[in-house]
């Protein structure tokens, strides 16, 4: 097929559109001036200010804790859901389960946040648990929508996987639990790692759901950033963004290499 000029130009523009704001974010984080858009010379001053911002650091620590626990929970639940949907054939509730792992992916966050908050409040009135809102409620909320993402990733990996391996193990007398832990789990591990990483970043990133279900003393990092950003641009947010982007770029590259190696060995 003849290659036209149209596609490369649009693709270049598209990638420029995707990356230009990120690049400018990084560039202006090294700006001396407080005015984010006027260049005042190179400086790492805002990184220093970030390290002295106690509220920001406390929020970052809370977010890291929440993200680690929520991503781990989400990976367990999501993997089980994906396994059940791909390996168990037909069962009652299958359609319901398929719906419940698709819907959270697109559900507007304000609905998820508000409905979970009302659930927690009602549960507290009926059962006395969870007592108040804070870390626990944010973890549950994040684990729920992250599990849906993990389930989608794990599902596509489980479907691509060569099922004859599992059959062979079963023919040799291994029980279902043993087949899962000795055959299935090692094969899908790279997908689960990238699922965990995705869940981790989604949890770290969430503002809306956390704002609804969080309580006093459990402000996550996005909540603190949002309250700062609402008042206008500030260079220390740029510095924070740069740090996050660097960490994410490294993590995604590792995950990408893992997945690529995985798909090569799978073929």
């Amino acid at each position: 097929m003849k290659r036209g000029w149209f596609l490369p130009i649009v693709a270049t523009l598209g990638f420029g559109f995707l990356y230009a704001p990120i690049v400018s974010l990084i560039v202006f984080s090294f700006n001396e001036s407080r005015l984010v858009t006027v260049w005042g010379g190179f400086s790492t001053r805002w990184y220093g200010e970030l390290l002295n911002d106690g509220q920001m650091l406390a929020a970052a620590w809370i977010s890291l804790k929440v993200a680690t626990i929520a991503a781990t929970l989400a990976t367990v639940i999501g993997t089980l859901a994906a396994f059940v949907l791909t390996r168990f054939g037909k069962f009652r509730g299958k359609l319901l389960m398929t719906g419940m792992i698709t819907a959270p992916l697109v559900m507007p966050e304000v609905i998820t946040g508000l409905s979970l908050l009302l659930l927690f409040v009602s549960m507290e009135m009926l059962l006395g648990w969870p007592a108040g809102r804070g870390l626990t409620t944010v973890v549950i909320a994040h684990a729920t929508f992250c599990a849906a993402y993990v389930a989608v990733i794990a599902q596509s990996r489980l479907r691509d996987m060569d099922e004859s391996l599992e059959e062979a193990a079963r023919d040799l007398g291994a029980g279902p639990v043993r087949v899962f832990f000795d055959i299935t789990l090692p094969v899908i591990t790279p997908a689960l790692i990238s699922g965990w990483l995705l869940a981790f970043t989604l949890s770290l990133d969430d503002l809306v759901v956390a704002s609804f279900v969080s309580g006093p003393g459990a402000s996550t990092l996005p909540m603190v950033i949002f309250s700062k950003v609402r008042l206008g641009v500030s260079p220390d947010v740029n510095a924070l963004a740069t740090i996050i982007i660097v960490i994410v770029a490294v993590a995604v590259t590792i995950a990408g290499v893992l997945l690529m190696r995985q798909s090569k060995t799978a073929r």
């Binding site: 990638f15 984010v36 409905s115 659930l119 950033i225 949002f226």
Partner: protein, 352 residues
């Protein structure tokens, strides 16, 4: 070898012992390293799972249901049940209490149970033009953004799908990469771009294209940009997935039969990529309807979106019942697109 020697029937003792060991391990790690409330949560989750396992084994049921039950119960409890709670609270009235709404049941003096439920909140939504126009304006903004994302995303997805490896994988990774960085910070980045003294105005006036800075912040235009920007990967990925499966032989056949590239595109490529177009559009349209962060940070005071109305109703007015009614109506709006998305995905699974 050992697998052959193992007794085929499920034994009760081993899994229970392993489970107990797991419980102790989780409890130990939990209490030592995690905040107390999280440790309680994890320990009770494992304990509940263990109790269920012991019960199913004791009753002689298959373990299959046990495995199904864990994710099913979790999603039903924390995804499905909340919608019923939402519906229930949308029928109560706001009250000065903790929590700030009236109860649905009341015990009358003669001991009978009275149900107090009213559709007043929904009637209120209909009577106040603010809500109706917020819904309509949300749908309009989401639809325009979806079309813009499709127009930009389709050529990019097509270009990636037609690229040779390894460039294809690298470009794909480049599309996904921004999606992994903070959504909030990517929206924030556009403030620096669109402001009166922002990057775009600086470059344009330096080039001499404009004398007066363009007003871009706090307009609907900025909201469109923000939505297209943050949701573009969701559009590109499903499009790419259908386009990469496109059989070259079909395109060759069309051109051998004399079709021009435009005709080939319209009659072969476009129809075959329809599932990707629908999936991508729904993945942008549905969450964009309820978007809160983008209109708040980039839009102006007159940018009316229902997510913002719900947020203000909840956080500023503290009217939980009306906020719930707003959410229920929004839920009804997005249910049809969600079911459409699911139908498309199911059909693709069957074809795969």
């Amino acid at each position: 070898m050992s697998a052959l020697d193992a007794p085929p029937q499920a034994s009760l003792l081993r899994p229970v012992l392993m489970g107990l060991a797991g419980l102790v391990a989780v409890a130990l790690i939990g209490w030592l390293a995690l905040p107390a409330n999280i440790a309680v949560l994890l320990t009770s989750l494992v304990a509940v799972a263990l109790a269920c396992l012991a019960f199913t084994r004791f009753m002689g049921w298959s373990d299959r249901w046990m495995v199904i039950a864990i994710p099913l119960v979790w999603f039903v409890t924390f995804f499905l049940v909340p919608f019923f709670v939402l519906g229930r609270i949308s029928l109560s009235e706001v009250a000065i209490a903790i929590p700030p709404y009236t109860s649905l049941w009341e015990r009358a003096p003669d001991g009978t149970l009275e149900i107090i439920a009213s559709f007043d909140n929904y009637l209120f939504l209909l009577s106040d033009s603010l809500y109706v126009s917020a819904y309509l304006s949300s749908i309009k903004i989401a639809a325009i953004s979806t079309v813009l994302a499709l127009l930009l995303g389709y050529p990019i997805a097509y270009y990636i799908a037609r690229s040779p490896e390894p460039r294809r994988s690298i470009l794909l990774l480049m599309v996904i990469l921004p999606f992994w960085t903070s959504f909030l910070l990517r929206v924030y980045a556009w403030i620096g771009f669109l402001r009166r003294d922002g990057v775009i105005n600086n470059i344009l006036s330096w080039l001499g294209v404009i004398d007066e800075p363009l007003v871009m912040m706090q307009t609907d235009f900025a909201v469109y940009i923000g939505i297209v920007y943050t949701y573009l990967p969701f559009m590109i990925l499903p499009l790419y997935a259908t386009l990469v499966k496109l059989d070259d032989a079909l395109l060759e056949a069309a051109s051998d039969l004399g079709a021009t590239p435009t005709v080939t595109f319209l009659t072969v490529t476009l129809p075959l990529s329809l599932p990707g177009i629908i999936a991508g559009s729904m993945l942008v349209f549905i969450p964009a309807i309820g978007e809160y962060v983008i209109p708040t940070l980039l839009g102006g005071p007159d940018t009316l979106m229902i997510g913002r109305v719900l947020w203000d109703e909840f956080f500023s007015s503290r009217d939980w019942p009306v906020a719930s009614a707003v959410a229920i109506v929004m839920l009804i709006l997005v249910v049809v697109p969600i079911m459409w998305l699911q139908a498309v995905q199911n059909r693709q699974e069957k074809n795969a």
